[in-house]
Amino acid sequence: MKLKYVMVVLLGLLTACGGYKQLTPKPEVVALEAGYTPILNKDKSFELKKGKKYYMTFPAALKPNFYLVLKAARLEQLNSHLTRQFTKGKGDIKIAEESAANDDLLVYKLDQTVPVFTWVIEEVLAEMVLDLDYRYVPVWRYRFETKNAEFQSILARNKVSRDNYDNLGNGVNPENLRFDEILNEIRTKSGNLKAIQGELLEIEAIFPPDIKNSDDKAYLDYTGLRQELEEELRFHENYSNVLNFFKREKETRNNNTTFSESLSEFNRFFADKSRYPEHVRRAAEKAMAQRLSTVAPFYENKIRQKRDVSPLDIPVDELEKLFKESGRASDPQFQAIAKFTRAFNRNAEALAGTRKGLNDIMARTRNSSNWPSDNFYTNLVPEMDRLLSSLPSASTAQYGQLASAPCVEQLNREALSINQQVNAAQQNFDQAAALVPQINRLRSQNDYRGIIQLLKANSQIDFLVDQYANVDRLSLEQQTAEIAAAYDSKQWALAESRLRSLYEDRYFLDYPAIQSEKMQVQKDYEDKLVAAIETESRQRINTFVDANKATYSNVEALYASEAFKPVYTLTFSAGGPNMVDRYNKKVQDYLDGLKFDQFPRMAIENLYRDFTRDIRDNGVAKAKAVAIHGKYYKGSDRKIQNLVAECDPLVAKWITKPTEYRKIYLVPTNNAQQASNEYVFRLNIQIPSDAQFPVYDVNIKLPREVASAAGSQQWYEKMTMNGNVLKNEGRFTITAPTSANDYECQITPLQVQKTGNNILEVRFKHNAFKVLEVNVMAQRPIIKKN
């Protein structure tokens, strides 16, 4: 209850604050069908002030298809609309107003989507007293009421005069009618009437169910109007048919060709003659009887002029029917024409059927997509017999009086010719029936060359050659399949051999026709073979590389692998020896690329990474493997070359920056472990210097195991600089590595050439067969005061 009060207060506030004033009629508006009811505020009309806004609610109609009609004077002073949802100026959705420009009315179609509709006066242009009536009215009624008078008027204006029609043949001669004028009038008026007929049907569609059979005046007015309208339209149609009949008869007079073409039209008129009054029917029969008396000579002449064997175009049946409908008995001349026409057309059609049958059989033999079975031609014998029996008889009696017409003679001549063709075909079929089993046997053996030989020997059976026209292709396909089989089974030599055979094959029924296709097949398979060999070779080498990139034993043997050769070396190409060389070279180039670049590159990177991860884990073997790979590596990647150099004791390691210690891996130069293993390392001192005659201190940090005995025995065998032996005398000092100096040996001052190589080589022996690490640094010595 409290909530209800709150809602009321809120509603009041909303009402007050919207700037719209509600007009509340007393008595309230009632949504019942009735006439116009004034809207009053008690007993007075509402007064509207200029510039103010108002609204008024109307309940929804109780039934569908109702209009709310508001009638008032000076509506032009109001700017108003009806809405389902009043938004107080925030954008009402307006219901269309359907008053058809009536200044006094506002017509809105109501529905039952909302309980209340709001009529909103957005603007009052001038102060006024609102004399307003309202009405709830069914749509059909409102529309019919507002249009009935108009409908009546239209109907009256579009009625056609019935005078000529009612007096046709009885004072009105059809000859004198202005057919086109009247027909145009009827057409126009029928159009107008059909328009209002449509509107009436629209209104009828929204009749309430309970209106039918009621005595509602509007409803009764409606049904009366509609019946009158339909009767007038029926008359229009009948009158038009009659006018068209006589108009056509008049137009075809003296022209039997167009008359013949109109026979079905005339017959349709007579078929529906009950629609017309007696005097009209009689006038029509009379006119048609006069016309039929002229047709027989016309058609006889046509027969006698005919030279071909096509069926005669004489509507014998239509004519006979028209004779009957018009009440005129047919004359003997027409009956002879009818007899001849029927006989000739029957024979002509039989001849055409036989010809077509023969052509169909021949076409079947020629165009069959499948080669004939063994009994294909044997099975044709009954068909050929049937063809012979269907040929027309050469007897002339069947043609009656007109048997001497030239077209009869022509028909008999052509029948004879067809007879001969059928017999000749039958003889070829007999021969073919003997050949086909042989051909089919050869085919089962894929011996297309044998088939071609057989066909060439019987080339007079032309349809047979046509029938086996695809034998060249099949031969080609057979060879293609054989090549493909060898190719698929990777028998490269066999594939190449068959490719060569195909290339050399010229034995075809029509070689020029198949030549380009054969060449294309040849080319395609040659390309495929080349590509396959390349792909196979690539796959094989790639597999090999993947499998061996981490191999560090017996590395030299890897490079002798067959994988570095093509899986097959081609010897034939349609393009000639140069093309063969090119194909082989391409593959070999790729393999060489693997052999001399990618494989050693990958192996070197892989092995070096593995090597440096733990030099104690087969370090010697890995380093030597890197060196061997490096021997084969022909690439120009400095990084790879450097990795190889790192593992090759005989390659000098570049010292390019002063003061930085550079790690060097020392790998024994002997291949197998000995009691005393040989080690060597070379440095190429290439430190940029402004000095004209640079010298350096070279510090070599040695592994303890190498240097620990240096106190009792010289740790190195030999040191040379550019081949000159360095001795610990004169200017040179070769500091002994000791535990006190962390086993660092210093060679100083080491004179180098400003340009060119400066190879410092150190050789020593060590009892362990392993990879050793030394760190080398060079720096400029300085001049000291003391």
């Binding site: 002063p658 003061t659 430190i687 210097s689 402004d690 000095a691 004209q692 005659f693 640079p694 010298v695 201190d697 005398e729 004169g730 200017r731 001052p749 004179q751 180098v752 640094m777 720096q779 400029r780 010595p781 300085i782 001049i783 000291k784 005061k785 003391n786």
Partner: protein
């Protein structure tokens, strides 16, 4: 026994005489306590320039007395040590930036007022002048300008990217950028930064520099600086250092014996002195040779062939043996810092680079020993060999002139004369007997002092002229060698058969002196030696042993001399014996 009155008088008189003599001895005795007294040739006052070498040996030694570097090279019984001077090493960054904190409050000697009244010296605070980065900057600028004339230029230029530094910052720290081609150790850096620093208000081209910050400050007028007093802010132990003038070196040993001096930095002939043998009174300290004798040939008077034959004629071994009277009762005995005795042959020289130098020791230069007899026919009838004995080494010169005049030595071809300096200036000689004093056996052997020195023993002038070649490199101008501006009378401008070789020789000499890379030094040393040998510019005779005598007034353990270091580099550590 009865004593007569006469006898009593006699005894009393004698006793009085004894007392009188005792009083006189006490009053007149030579008291050198708390001072170091070193002799010098009176007319060869030392010139003090811490950045240039000088022919007077004492000059360079006094650099250590007067001046400090950022770091000072000193010694202890184990060898070289580097001590903080005007700087303190803070950090060596990985990018070879060296951070040095400049010592605050270090005073220049000019900060003190020195009053000398006879023997009394009073030092009081004067107007304070403190060492600053500007002084260091000035010093670096001067060294850079001196170029190859200064050994410090070679040392610094080999290490620093520029003769400059960043700073100082709020901590008075400066940053040097060292070159990146070696790992710089603390010892390396201190060695490089051991050049002596002079105040920024000094002249760039003064004859002498007296205002330093070293352990001793000069007390006498600048024109005659011979007396020094302990720097109040320093750490020298002994109060005074006095240089005592004598006419020549012939009496030096006697003066030491007579306690007129207490330090003799080099003996005549470099030999042990018979009169200083008492270890109760004297002790010796040896170090590497700093003097050698040579005969330089006058190229204006002798052609190359003659010079070559004259070189063959002069047998330095025979002369050396005569010089030291080897095998005679008067043999002059020698000893060296390595402990060798009478090893005379070790002092024979066969190249412009003496045998004691790094270049020969390390066989960078391997002098040819030409044993071919001289072709006397090529030589003039009489070769005028002269020497001026008035500029040090009088004893040695006299002895050598006598030896050269011996026909057994000179085959009668040489007439040796003692002449005035003027004769040398004029070039009135075929050959010049010359002592080269103060040479360094280190990398920094000085060729300019031999070949580019003005031929005037009364002054020190190096006639090096520099020009720039089209590529922007410096090179010696040919005018550096002209007949009148060097002892050998070489003339690179004068056309002639020798000119190309003389020009090459000049180029090599400059290359050697200018080089700040060891390799370049080595190669140019070879080229100089070869070129000189080809030109036959002199006969290089021998070096003198370097032997210093000290009075036992001093504690010998406080005096460390070693190898190639300056003898006075540790002077501030010298102490008197406790019982003194």
């Amino acid at each position: 026994m009865t004593i007569t009155p006469t006898q009593k008088y006699i005894i009393g008189g004698l006793a009085g005489l004894i007392v009188l003599l005792g009083v006189l001895w006490f009053v007149l005795r030579k008291d050198l306590s708390n001072q170091i007294v070193i002799p010098y040739i009176a007319h060869q006052k030392p010139q003090i320039d811490p950045h240039l070498p000088n022919a007077v040996p004492l000059s360079d030694k006094l650099d250590e007395v007067l001046f400090d570097g950022l770091f000072n090279i000193s010694a202890n019984p184990s060898g070289v040590v580097y001590e903080d001077g005007l700087g303190e090493l803070i950090e060596i960054t990985p990018t070879n930036e060296v951070v040095i904190r400049l010592k605050a409050g270090k005073k220049w000697h000019s900060s003190y007022a020195v009053k000398v009244d006879d023997d009394d010296v009073t030092i009081s605070e004067g107007s304070e002048a403190l060492f600053s980065a500007q002084d260091l900057n000035f010093t670096l600028r001067r060294i850079e300008q001196l170029g190859s004339l200064s050994p410090d230029y070679i040392l610094v230029s080999q290490a620093l990217k520029t003769f400059a530094f960043d700073g100082p910052d709020n901590n008075n720290e400066i940053r040097f950028r060292f070159k990146d081609d070696r790992i710089w150790t603390e010892a390396d850096i201190k060695e490089i930064l051991s050049f002596k620093i002079i105040p920024a208000n000094s002249s760039l081209t003064a004859q002498n520099y007296y205002n330093g910050s070293g352990p001793y400050l000069a007390t006498t007028p600048q024109a005659e600086v011979t007396n020094y007093f302990r720097n109040p802010a320093g750490n020298a132990t002994l109060e005074r250092l006095n240089l005592k003038p004598f006419v020549d070196n012939s009496t030096f040993t006697t003066e030491l014996k007579n306690t007129n001096i207490n330090v003799l930095l080099s003996t005549p002939f470099g030999s042990l002195s018979p009169i200083l043998q008492d270890p109760e009174d004297f002790f010796t300290k040896s170090n590497i040779s700093t003097t050698f004798f040579t005969v330089l040939f006058n190229t204006q008077r002798l052609n190359r062939e003659q010079r070559q034959e004259l070189r063959r004629l002069i047998d330095n071994r025979a002369i050396l043996n005569r010089f030291f009277k080897v095998g005679s009762e008067q043999q002059r005995h020698i000893t060296d810092y390595k402990g060798n005795n009478d090893n005379y042959a070790d002092y024979l020289n066969y190249s412009v680079f003496p045998s004691s130098t790094y270049y020969v020791e390390e066989e960078i230069v391997v002098p040819l020993r030409d044993e071919t007899p001289a072709n006397l026919a090529v030589l003039p009838d009489s070769i005028r060999l002269v020497a001026c004995i008035n500029y040090g080494n009088r004893e040695e010169y006299s002895e050598l002139l006598e030896i050269f005049n011996d026909p057994a030595i000179s085959k009668g071809k040489i007439r040796a004369l003692a002449v005035d300096n003027e004769e040398i200036v004029k070039g009135n000689y075929d050959a010049l007997l010359l002592s080269i004093d103060g040479y360094k056996s280190t990398f920094l052997f000085d060729l300019y002092n031999i070949f580019l020195r003005q031929p005037d023993l009364s002054r020190q002038q190096i006639n090096l002229a520099i020009e720039t070649d089209p590529s922007g490199k410096t090179r010696p101008a040919a005018k550096s060698l002209q007949a009148g501006n060097n002892f050998c009378r070489l003339d690179a401008l004068a056309p002639g058969a020798d000119q190309p070789d003389i020009q090459k020789f000049l180029e090599y000499t400059y290359g050697f002196m200018y080089a700040n890379y060891i390799g370049d030094k080595q190669v140019f040393a070879q080229l100089v030696a070869d070129s000189e040998s080809k030109l036959a510019l002199g006969e290089w005779l021998f070096s003198l042993p370097s032997l210093a005598y000290f009075s036992t007034q001093f504690d010998d353990r406080s005096i460390d001399l070693y190898g190639v270091a300056s003898q006075l580099s540790t002077i501030e550590k010298w102490q008197e014996r406790r019982d003194q």
